[in-house]
């Protein structure tokens, strides 16, 4: 006898929380608002198209054919960097599954001890020592985790992003650990491309004006005027941005940290991540390892409509791992018992024993209940501390932005 489970397989990206949009069956990941990204694309492609149409024929003949070739290579590089920045996972941290979330909650409760009635619980902060500096890790109420150092929650994408730099509307994505170097190379190469096109526009106009006169030149190549305008305004912003990020990279800082002033000022902590050497910092950021995405957007997961088996879509781990036996077609002699045993993992039974040894002595044991008993389950569910909301937390009550 074997049980028949009607399951539907979906890719994990379809069930990811957060406000991202996915394309190409999970291969592409972007923010929701993409309008400005299309503008960026249009400006770059449009300007380069004008350059190839109006300037290049003249310059290739009168100066050198390598000019359009180099422009084409630069243009392709800019495009590749832009698409790489926009389409890749910036380093999103997945939200905690229910067991992990309640485990953290219990640790917090244990650490806080008894809060007198009517008083707000203390803010949820964990102190860690990094390179002899104390860094505070904040708790994220949306993702239910303590954010790793340098991570921040992007409110536009509604995700915690590792080494969060900023959310860039021009590329339509967050800039974080995984795509920062592509973003930097994009701004750098775009600066070069803009300067290149601007320079050769001027050269072209000058050369033509010598023969035909200035006004005639402008009439013959109207595209040049447009290009010069776009390049002029782009130059100031993009070159400035490249310079700013070069400065940040040499200090191994993120835009987020710079804006918040995390490492500046006398009384503040010094940047514990900097190697105190500009070359080393640059090398780490630009030539460091290529971090993998931890989201597994294209992995498969099962959605079972049958409640007994409740392979809940929030608990995808049993289905994604290739070693999992619940997907195997092996039928056991005690199949019936096996089915009853395979239930959705519940939050761990209430235990007041924190992992910290200091608190062990001060916490009293509560009676353990076996997960098998439904009665005990109810009481343990009632004892589970309600997952706190920002309103109950003193720190969150102070107006703060992510």
């Amino acid at each position: 006898m074997s049980a028949v489970m009607i399951t539907r397989k979906v890719r994990k990206w379809e069930k990811l929380p957060g406000k991202n949009t996915f394309c190409c069956d999970g291969r592409v990941m972007m923010a929701r608002q993409k309008g400005v990204f299309y503008l960026t694309l249009f400006l770059i492609v449009g300007t380069c198209a004008l350059f190839f149409a109006f300037e290049c024929p003249y310059l290739a003949v009168h100066l050198s054919p390598t000019i359009p070739v180099f422009a084409a290579l630069l243009f392709l590089f800019v495009l590749a960097m832009l698409l790489r920045t926009s389409f890749s996972d910036p380093g999103v941290l997945p939200r905690a599954l229910p067991e992990e979330a309640s485990f953290i909650e219990m640790e917090i409760e244990a650490a806080n001890g008894n809060v007198p009635a009517g008083q707000r619980p203390p803010p949820r902060i964990r102190n860690v020592e990094i390179n002899n500096q104390i860094v505070k890790l904040k708790y994220c109420y949306t993702c239910k985790i303590f954010r790793p150092p340098r991570a921040s929650h992007c409110s536009i994408c509604d995700n915690c992003v590792d080494r969060f730099d900023h959310h860039c509307p021009w590329v339509g994505n967050c800039v974080g650990k995984r795509n920062y170097r592509y973003f930097y190379l994009f701004t750098l190469s775009l600066s070069l491309l803009t300067i290149y096109i601007f320079t050769f526009n001027i050269v072209h106009v000058v050369m033509r004006s010598v023969d035909n006169g200035f006004l005639n030149t402008l009439k013959e190549t109207p595209g040049t005027v447009l290009e010069v305008l776009v390049c002029f305004f782009t130059l100031w912003s993009v070159v400035g941005l490249t310079g700013f990020h070069t400065y940040l990279i040499s200090l191994n800082q993120t835009t987020n940290e710079d804006i918040k002033g995390s490492w500046s000022g006398k009384n503040r902590v010094q940047n514990p991540y900097s190697h105190k050497n500009m070359i080393k910092n640059c090398c780490e950021v630009l030539c460091g390892p290529t971090y993998p995405s931890v989201l597994d957007r294209r992995g498969l997961m099962q959605l079972s409509p049958v409640s007994e088996f409740s392979a809940n879509d929030t608990d995808a781990s049993p289905c994604s791992s290739s070693t999992d036996s619940s997907n195997s077609s092996k039928t056991l002699p005690s199949t019936k018992r096996a089915i009853l045993c395979l239930h959705k993992p519940r939050p761990p039974p209430i235990r007041n024993n924190p992992t910290s040894d200091d608190l062990k002595a001060s916490i009293t044991d509560t009676a353990h209940t076996s997960p098998a008993h439904s009665q005990a389950e109810e009481s343990s569910a009632a004892k589970t501390p309600p997952l706190a909301t920002p309103e109950t937390d003193a720190e969150a009550s102070v107006a703060k932005s992510h």
Binding site: T290, A338, C341, P345, H373
Partner: protein, 168 residues
Amino acid sequence: SPQQIICLHLTLSPFHNLQELRHSASLANKVFIQRDYSEGTTCKFQTKFPIELESRIERTLFEDTVKTLNNFYAEAEKIGGQSYLEGCLACTTAYLIFLCIETRYEKVLKKIANYIQEQNEKIYAPRGLVITDPIERGMRVIEISIYEDRGSCGSSSGSSSVSGSTAR
């Protein structure tokens, strides 16, 4: 006492392989080994032995597993000659080369997956434990699931529980 005998039985439990574990045991608890940030943002896990595992596995085995995993991650994230070469070469191809070849990190992740699989089969499953690959939890925690044998335990509640407190 009967409770002590039951505890002893479970430490010599008959979970011969991972599949048998998942089919005939029920999940009792989960322990989460947190990240160790003392050296910065590189991936490293705390080697502190959790109380919940005291009655289940020897401390040295657990520490060996975590230390080996930490070494794997350190190898993957090492910034040195090879990573510079990889980065610079990839840059010249506008990173298109990564569509064809595997990065060093991905290679190490495969080694880690194999290692965890092997550890689960040889050491952890016979003790009623299962380690989840950290990459499935966002590289935030090493999740260790603790299973209880339902059949032989019967209705004795709490005696076989994973907390060290009941063993006193």
